[in-house]
């Protein structure tokens, strides 16, 4: 396919042809093209459909502000909806499809909406679809939802990788146009650490799209030279294809670098995009300005463009968007499009200039005081109707119309901290206001200085100012000469008269009529205007349309534009791929793994693992022939209670607490007392939150007069440590206490069961007879002939049990040694399921009971809260509502009929009572099958439970439709007297 609309010049490599396809049709373009420029070069103007009316649309811009030319880029799992053709860099083999149309772009069935437009006015849906009531969800909404959206996702996993990083600089320059380049050059030459970021793949900004000279050379050449010099400076980092998306607090910026989007696929190992968090001591917004159109009837046809874009396609990409061009402008800049195109030999048939007076353009039909009032052409522009100064109208055939309503400084980043832009009369646009982000300056067109000279001057001055703040000496180099044309503009927002629709927000199909209706219905504040009409809520966030919309509203309300104000600018500046924000944290890498010392051994045994926080723990270890998890767990439990079982308990938090005040400290952070604990002993500790609820529990041992080691639950290891540091530093800063976590330093195994001691005697070097190492004993030992370790005689299972610890690197060897030594006793290794079964059989509380909503009293541990001393949580645990009779109490539960299954989460109801809130007695917190007892058992919180032992209730579960008669019993199902412990 020939590039029929390609003309001379431009920054493209004509030596290389790139093949690409749009809606299945193949075309060619060149390196340096965007998808839009290449399509226009091939004479394709129609690229999309609008959201509501499905109007045929082509690009109006040559940049990231594009509302119309949105396509689905790539295919398969890489399909990328809503990609702006105007910024999609062309590569060989690029595939693109139009979207939001059916069956085809040229013929779209839903274009019927356009014929029905008189019904589909702003907010019409708020006033209808209400009758009959059921129809909204069943009929109307499904239809609306089916029509919703623009492009589509593939539903397949994104195959590309994303990365994140962190950069530091003295000066971040946002935008590499004349202002940004001059600033970077000034700061770079001064040796400052500079980052220059630009969303475009070619730095230079408007200089690449203009013919004006800088320093006596074409602006684009000057830009290329500056970029080359900057590239040679080690203190300067050039970041093309990088969009600074947001300004956050204290000089932190979020920027997305499109590392691979200009390639068919990322190179091996390379990310598609990288999210950079940039820490900038000072920053400069040099993001340029965005041209805005003038609204007139049918101003949305393919071929109607922004004048600056029309010019950019000709100058930068060597493309004539049309062969007969009309220009419609209200300001001086629009005339440049006419003169540039004329110089390139494109036929400019008329220049429609809404201003009166002033010099006429030579050699052109320059119609002053005239306006374009309408356009024609079904799928593309074929003519415009012009109303002359004298009121007479003329139809002028043309294939492209360049419209310029003036330029809006890109204030977005400067307003990300909610600084309101201020109205600048001279350019009839909003410019950056006061109180922008601290340390952020603005230069060039972004600051409302629309001339090239103004940009160069501003960029240099702001760079010098920033370096001055930082105490980095810098000198102002000579400023290259460049045009300093005045902005001559006579504001015109929309063309009066006419019955038809004049578009303001092209993607969302918001027209002047809609704004008028909003006003008529008293939606007059800008926020109401936006929310009622959806003005500015499309993928372009109103970059070209918003100001026109509020100008129209200002006119209707009779308020000046500044008083009418703008809506709020929020990140991101342009839409950002979710993948970039997520980086590598996805799939199995969503969060890091924590592996226990016995993990390798357990994996060899074919253990089943379970996520416990970040940890992977052994859930159970199936043996040959076991087909269900219950078989494995029952075996582990029975073997442990009968003989001995081994379990990796390394995940429990361990905190080393030393200092002369360690005991006092523990007395204050635990509800019970520890200062009286004898050296070589351990004790169960109950820790409360200041609000009196139970925070955590565990055993704490005293290894030396001034050294304790505290055990926390696996889940709370981090929060308990944080809390202890708070108590130590903030509440009692003069206590002599030092803390450090030792959770991972020790591999710790529970050895439980009647034969626990006999097994350990084969491993531990010292005498651990009951006399030498009694119940709740703790101390340093050596293992297997000299390896230093620790032994604690504590039990979670209710059996004679120990926890033995060795340095983690020996954990794997120890589990193997314990298993080997246990063979003669038929020892098993058990996982978290068996652990859970045994602790419920014993009536110990764990995660499901330690739910942050329960007090010591609720758990039946009220007596542990000493009132004799002040401790965290003690005072508030005494509030009337928390000590009242009849509150929740921990109880045991067993089915009246042993064959009945129980389920955790079931609620207690009295026998025969109706299932209503008033009868709700509480709930089953934990349920297990007790192989020992041969039926299900559970723990639960029951209102007044301490008074209900021995009574019957129902455990009702509407989720699995069960209703079981249960008996309320003591939570201690096994060995309530604790004889086994002391055995």
């Amino acid at each position: 396919m020939s590039q029929s609309h390609r003309i001379a010049g431009g920054q493209i490599d004509r030596g290389v042809a790139l093949r690409f396809s749009f809606d299945g049709k193949s075309y060619t373009g060149h390196p340096g093209d965007t998808l839009a420029s290449a399509l226009l070069a091939n004479g394709v103007r129609l690229m999309g459909r609008s959201f509501k009316y499905h109007r045929p649309r082509g690009p109006i811009s040559a940049g990231s502000e594009e509302p119309n030319a949105l396509v689905e880029l790539r295919s398969g799992a890489r399909q990328e909806p809503n990609t702006r053709a105007t910024v999609a860099e062309l590569f060989d083999g690029l595939e693109a499809r139009s979207q939001n149309r059916w069956p085809s772009l040229a013929f779209d069935a839903l274009a019927i909406n356009d014929r029905l437009n008189s019904f589909f006015t702003a907010g019409f849906y708020y006033k209808t679809f209400m009758w009959p009531a059921a129809f909204w969800e069943k009929v109307y909404e499904p239809i609306i939802r089916r029509a919703a959206g623009l492009g589509s996702l593939s539903r397949l996993e994104d195959p590309d990788e994303y990365d994140k990083g962190f950069l530091h600089c003295d000066l971040l320059v946002i935008g590499a146009g004349p202002a940004g380049l001059m600033a970077a050059l000034t700061a770079g030459r001064a040796g400052a650490r500079v980052i220059l970021a630009d969303e475009d793949f070619r730095m230079g900004g408007r200089l690449n799209a203009e013919t004006g000279e800088v320093g006596g050379r074409p602006g684009a050449d000057w830009a290329a030279d500056v970029v080359a010099e900057l590239a040679g400076l080690p203190n300067v980092r050039l970041m093309a294809r990088t969009t600074v998306a947001g300004a956050f607090d204290h000089g932190i910026f979020g920027a997305v670098e499109r590392v691979s989007d200009h390639l068919p696929a990322p190179l091996p190992g390379k990310p598609r995009q990288t999210l950079w968090r940039i820490y900038a001591r000072r920053s400069l917004l040099a993001g340029g300005a965005t041209e805005r159109p003038i609204a007139f009837e049918n101003n949305d046809r393919p071929g109607v463009m922004l004048a600056g874009a029309l010019r950019a396609y000709a100058n930068r990409w060597g493309v004539a968007a049309g062969d007969r061009v009309v220009v419609f402008t209200n300001n001086e800049d629009g005339l440049r499009t006419a003169t540039d195109l004329q110089a390139k030999g494109v036929s400019v048939v008329a220049v429609v200039d809404s201003r009166r007076g002033g010099p006429l353009l030579p050699g052109l039909r320059h119609l002053q005081g005239a306006e374009v009032v309408d356009s024609a052409g079904r799928l593309g522009l074929s003519s415009v109707t012009v109303r002359m100064a004298d009121g007479r109208t003329e139809v002028i055939p043309c294939t492209a119309l360049g419209v310029s309503g003036g330029w809006n400084p890109n204030v977005n980043i400067h307003s990300h901290h909610r600084s309101r832009p201020v109205w600048a009369e001279g350019i009839a646009a909003f410019a950056p206001g006061a109180d922008g982000p601290a340390g952020l300056a603005v230069a060039g067109a972004a600051a409302g200085r629309l001339s090239t000279h103004g940009a160069l001057l501003g960029g240099q001055a702001e760079a010098l100012a920033a370096l001055g703040d930082l105490g980095i000496p810098a000198t102002a180099g000579d400023l290259p000469k460049a045009e300093d044309a005045p902005v001559s503009i006579t504001p015109k927002w929309y063309v009066q008269g006419g019955k038809g629709r004049a578009w303001i927000d092209q993607q969302n199909d918001v027209t002047v009529k809609d704004v008028k209706l909003a006003h008529q219905e008293n939606f007059t504040s800008v926020e109401h205007l936006k929310r009622y009409t959806t003005l500015g809520m499309a993928t372009d966030q109103g970059k070209t349309g918003n100001v026109i919309g509020l100008a129209v509203m200002a006119e209707l309300t009779g308020k000046p534009i500044p008083e009418t104000g703008t809506t709020i600018y929020r990140p991101p500046y342009t839409p950002v791929a979710m993948g970039a924000l997520a980086g590598r944290s996805r799939g199995k890498e969503f969060k890091p793994f924590r592996l226990t010392p016995s993990h390798k051994w357990a994996a060899e045994q074919g253990a089943v693992f379970v996520e416990v926080g970040m940890w992977l723990r052994t859930q159970w270890l199936p043996r040959a022939g076991e087909t269900t998890w219950r078989q494995s767990v029952d075996r582990e439990v029975l073997a442990t209670r009968k003989s001995v079982g081994i379990c990796d308990v390394t995940t429990l938090g361990k905190i080393d607490i030393q200092g002369t005040d360690a005991g006092t400290f523990l007395d204050r952070v635990y509800a019970n007392t520890f200062s009286t604990l004898a050296v070589g002993k351990c004790r169960y500790g109950l820790m409360l939150r200041e609000d009196g609820m139970v925070f955590d529990d565990g055993t704490t041992a005293r290894l030396a007069p001034e050294e304790y080691v505290m055990t926390t639950t696996t889940a709370n290891a981090v929060t308990v440590f944080r809390h202890l540091e708070f108590c130590r530093q903030c509440l009692w800063p003069d206590l002599d206490v030092q803390l450090i976590s030792t959770t991972e330093a020790w591999a710790q195994f529970s050895v439980a069961g009647p034969n626990a001691r006999r097994l350990l005697e084969k491993v531990v070097d010292q005498d651990i007879s009951d006399a030498a190492f009694p119940y709740m004993g703790a101390g340093n030992i050596t293992v297997c002939g000299g390896l230093r370790g620790r032994l604690f005689r504590i039990s979670f299972s209710g059996e004679l049990a120990y926890e033995i610890a060795v340095p983690t690197r020996y954990g794997d060897a120890l589990i193997r040694k314990l298993v080997e030594a246990g063979e003669e006793f038929g020892a098993v290794v058990y996982g978290t399921e068996a652990l859970g079964v045994m602790r419920v059989e014993k009536g110990h509380v764990a995660g499901n009971e330690l739910n942050g909503q329960s007090s010591a009293l609720n758990m039946g541990l009220g007596k542990m809260v000493s009132k004799k001393k002040d401790s965290i949580g003690m005072p508030l645990s005494q509030r009337e509502g928390m000590v009242a009779e009849g509150g929740y109490r921990l109880v045991g539960v067993k089915p009246v009929n042993p064959a009945d299954a129980l389920s955790a989460g079931s609620h207690f109801l009295p026998e025969g009572a109706a299932p209503v809130l008033a009868n709700d007695g509480g709930w089953l917190t934990s349920m297990v099958w007790s192989p020992h007892l041969g039926h299900c058992i559970a723990l639960g919180y029951l209102k007044g439970g301490d008074q209900k032992i021995g009574t019957r209730m129902r455990a009702v579960n509407f989720m699995n439709k069960t209703d079981v008669a249960v008996e309320i019993v003591s939570p201690h199902f096994i060995d309530p007297e604790g004889e086994r412990l002391r055995g």
Binding site: F248, D249, H250, G251, I252, Y279, H417, A438, D661, T664, E690, D691, V718, R722, E725, F726, Q729, C730, L731, W732, P733, D734, L735, K869, D870, S871, M874, P875, L876, Q878, R879
Partner: protein, 95 residues
């Protein structure tokens, strides 16, 4: 946000854990008369100013210092950062 750590200099706020109003330094005496009322005020009532706020941050992914940060809750500007331990001592906390 960046918190200018008195020992380590500017550190990303993401390394810290936020607790809240620095009045939490002033834990009442749990054995005193009217302790429940005092603790109710201490644990639950907040000034919650729109403006300067003295608040506790914990450098969990750093040196484990608790800091008292004076920050404007409207602009997020940070005006002062001190070690909580120093503030606590200065304001009468000891043992």
């Amino acid at each position: 946000m960046l918190i200018n750590h008195p020992i380590l200099g500017p550190r990303d706020a993401q390394e810290f854990v936020y607790l809240g109003d620095a009045n939490l330094l002033h834990r009442p005496d749990g054995l005193a008369e009217g302790a429940i009322a005092a603790f109710h005020d201490y644990a639950y009532q907040r000034g919650n100013p729109a403006g300067e706020h003295r608040e506790l941050w914990y450098h969990e992914q750093g040196d484990r210092s608790w800091l008292v940060v004076t920050r404007n809750t409207v602009t997020h500007e940070i005006l002062k950062v001190e070690l909580a331990r120093d503030v606590a001592r200065r304001e009468g906390r000891s043992r």
